[in-house]
Symmetry: C2
Subunit: 226 residues, 2 copies
Amino acid sequence: MKIAVLGTGFAGRTLADGLAGLGHEVAIGTRDVAATLKRTEPDRMGNAGYGVWAEGHPHIQLARFADAAAGADLLVNATSGAGSISALTDAGAANLAGRVLLDVANPLDFSQGFPPNLFVKDSDSLAEQIQRAFPDARVVKALNTMVGDVMTVPKSVSDGDHTVFVSGDDAEAKHVVTDLLSSFGWTDIIDLGGIGTARATEMMVKIRLLVMTSLGTPISNFKIAR
Amino acid sequence: MKIAVLGTGFAGRTLADGLAGLGHEVAIGTRDVAATLKRTEPDRMGNAGYGVWAEGHPHIQLARFADAAAGADLLVNATSGAGSISALTDAGAANLAGRVLLDVANPLDFSQGFPPNLFVKDSDSLAEQIQRAFPDARVVKALNTMVGDVMTVPKSVSDGDHTVFVSGDDAEAKHVVTDLLSSFGWTDIIDLGGIGTARATEMMVKIRLLVMTSLGTPISNFKIAR
């Protein structure tokens, strides 16, 4: 597939790299290509600046949101939650129409510092906001309950014995995403229901950050034991 | 230990039964003993009315909140979240002072029907509300991320290979609760930090209810795979 990954942060890069590794044609979308490539300093999490990362990943094209999105079979929203609607607007509603939009972002609110709160909770979700803003996109929420490394290499935790959740109103779009997840090696994929169920997985941000702190590593994930 | 379990619902009964099975002296607290014993119809979840349940559990005393709480070494809040402060007020601040108070309740808001929302979320928690209302109690949040059966018999899911979270400001009180959890057979107990971290586990209600629906059984639990 031709895939556009919107967002140049750690999740976006890791997904782009993983998807390219599966043989997909991947472009990363950003607001300003030149400014993104100029970033060479590591971020506060210690991740390399995009310009440095890009040198090691010459097969992954960087393009303006709209250019990356044009003609993509599937799009991934890996922008910051607060910037998602704006980025998708730049990508262009016409480029989203009828396409599967995998939303891996969380509605993080850093206005009170770290750890973040959520700007929507049990009465709405970022995924629903995106679906309402782009009614012709086929939004599927998934992979937002773990760190980037685990998204694309589930075997990096507990030999892959853990869970990924999927929410969305379009059954066929969920099928496309589920196939993609399986190709990464996911075996326990729980379909929670419609896009409104994304509220539940977005609300897991708090526990994930605390577990990360308690364990001293982000390399973990939720498993539904049964 | 002498233990008071406040709340006559499924969680309270199951905990009382489990604690009595470990050899503790257990009383269940309620607002009105006669009214509680008069309930013989099953609730909407199909659980027996308290009066019927009580006949099969004659070793577990039913008493008014204050009578159950008086002289207890440890108290368990298994009341509905919306009724917790009121029930604990009835139990008596003096009876809570210096005592370990294990809070297993969730801040469920049924005002919009089922599934419930939460009446506090990422900016506060029921556990913190209780700690603020009863500053001399030693509040520990735990077991609020699973159904009653799993609380006391962790081996009923995946041979016990899953996780329970603990939050609280009082290290010694957390130690008491952790010992109690171990005596139920819990092996993966993650200490998340202070009582404020209860926000994270209370926010897991939504995902738990959805997973229950997806799997068709409440007998499951979260495991932190790593």
